[in-house]
């Protein structure tokens, strides 16, 4: 079933009876060549690229709950490639390029909208840092523009430019960044993978790994044992719990990050604005709600909900930047569980167990990485070598001293 404008018109005229489920619900087979644990964005993107690019056969995705019930359905949908360090920036730019072609590739409307992201500047030092970051982005093939105060004012005339503590002095703009429909991404990859023969098995919780002579043989699940030649784990948020079943401790703490949406408003924020100094960022959904967030709560949590002080703090940051939204009401708040790694950067690597691979540690930035994470993880699963853009994301980099610490915070996950 292909989607097209013609198809939409035809279904509209014939009572929408022709739409079919987007993927099958197969029973698990006795064994597979590849098992991907985790049916979120990264797991589904991995299965899709494994089947499509690397021609893998007999692939299954095992999901504990329903498809896309984790962080792919709980994020603030921002896509961007505005990183600094050489271990990160080429990877995120690769991801950005995949976003740009994603909908045509898997024939599904993921509502990718390149509406631009603006990082605000408040001091000379910050301008220097952002100029350096912009240059790093340009070197990696991304786009970046440094705006002065008037340049920012032309885009968003109603921001508070003369805040006593954080006056706006300019901004770093990436025009190709933007937002995407988070569920659409999961559904698009699921449908694409299913069409290529991948078995997507929901309500199937992995309860253990069978490991013999240092090699993985398969996984025990709530629906019985399933054998596998290779197992890839992409369960960010719960990586520590899952890998503990394979006897591993990870350089990761699980933390809760909250996000918020206001009632629907007339169009006011046509891009993404980040106010890093105030721990606040915002975009506006196509329905009109302001989608915004701030920092993680800062303590270990698996609760998928946060506490009120952080809500207050984020709202204060928002009001400092945008006094005009003072009377907008908060519609919803929710929390997602982050794999906060020790250097703020992810892990895509083999593990000490042969045939067991790990994709983890995405902190609060996993959504933008979804396509490249899937591509790079599929590359690793299929070829046993890291994808060139993800070669720095090694599990042992902490031990070797090759951390990728964008914020320079050290081994303190709640500060990244």
């Amino acid at each position: 079933m292909r989607f097209s404008g013609f198809r939409v018109v035809k279904e509209a005229l014939t009572g929408h009876h022709g739409w079919k489920p987007l993927w099958r619900t197969p029973a698990p087979q006795a064994s597979y060549d590849y098992i991907i644990v985790g049916g979120g964005g990264h797991g589904l993107a991995t299965a899709y690229h494994l089947a499509k690019v690397f021609k893998g056969k007999r692939i299954a995705v095992l999901e504990k709950g329903w498809l896309g019930s984790g962080n792919i359905g709980r994020n603030t949908t921002i896509i961007r490639s505005n990183y600094l360090l050489p271990g990160n920036e080429p990877f995120y730019e690769f991801s950005m390029k995949l976003w740009e072609n994603m909908e045509q590739e898997f024939n599904f409307n993921a509502m990718v909208s390149q509406r631009g992201i603006l990082n605000l500047i408040h001091t000379d030092a910050q301008r220097d840092a952002y100029r350096r970051r912009g240059n790093a982005m340009l070197l990696a093939g991304a786009d970046a523009e440094l705006l002065d105060r008037d340049g920012v004012r032309a885009m968003y005339p109603w921001l508070n430019y003369d805040n006593a503590r954080f006056p706006i002095k300019g901004g770093l703009l990436q025009r190709r960044a933007g937002t995407a429909r988070h569920d659409g991404v999961a559904w698009g990859y699921a449908r694409g993978a299913d069409l290529l023969g991948v078995d997507i098995i929901q309500n199937c919780e992995v309860t253990g790994f069978r490991i013999e002579n240092g090699r993985v043989q398969g996984v025990d699940t709530s629906r019985g044992y399933i054998g596998a030649k290779k197992v890839g784990v992409a369960v960010a948020g719960s990586s520590g719990r899952v890998m503990a079943m394979a006897g591993m401790r990870l350089p990761i703490e699980s933390h809760v990050l909250q996000a918020f949406v206001s009632e629907g408003l007339k169009p006011v924020v046509d891009g993404v604005i980040t106010f890093g100094a105030g721990h606040f960022y915002v975009s506006q959904s196509d329905k009109g709600g302001l989608v915004f967030g701030g920092d993680i709560d800062g303590y270990n949590s698996y609760a998928q909900r946060g506490n009120l002080p952080v809500i207050e703090e984020v709202a204060e940051g928002g009001l400092a930047l945008m006094p005009a939204i003072g009377r907008a009401r908060l519609l919803r708040a929710w929390g997602g569980i982050m794999d906060m790694s020790m250097d703020g950067s992810p892990i895509i690597d083999r593990t000490p167990v042969d045939g067991l691979y790990l994709n983890a540690g995405w902190c609060y930035g996993g959504f933008k990485a979804t396509p490249a994470s899937g591509y790079a993880f599929a590359h690793l699963l299929a070829t046993d070598t890291p994808h060139p853009t993800a070669a720095a994301y090694r599990l042992d980099r902490f031990n070797r001293g090759y951390v990728i610490d964008e914020k320079g915070m050290g081994a303190q996950p709640n500060l990244h």
Partner: protein, 96 residues
């Protein structure tokens, strides 16, 4: 979240800053032959449990004591708090 401070009674968690797993009290011996590996585990690896978690909180906007708080990471329920100093001294078999 309210943290039951052993000296000051229930205090808002906002008065505290969070460090992490209470195992950070058990600093490895820097002179041992196995120090590099032991410090890698100490600095970077975590149990990260879903459920009861013993963790270090610093009463920064209070009496500036370090506490070990026992908290459920699934429900955010706090089950108790003790002075980290007492725990560390007891572990060393020292003054109580």
């Amino acid at each position: 979240m309210l943290i039951p401070h052993p000296l000051l009674g229930p205090r808002d968690a906002q008065e505290f800053t969070y460090l992490g797993d209470a195992s950070l009290l058990n600093r490895p011996d820097g002179l041992a032959d196995t120090a590099p590996e032991a410090f890698n585990d100490y600095v970077y690896l975590r149990d990260n449990p879903a459920g009861l978690h013993r963790e270090l909180w610093f009463h920064e906007q209070g009496d500036r004591s370090w506490l070990i708080v026992t908290r459920n990471t699934v429900t955010h329920e706090i089950l108790g708090a003790e002075l980290a100093r007492d725990v560390a001294l007891a572990a060393m078999g020292g003054a109580q």
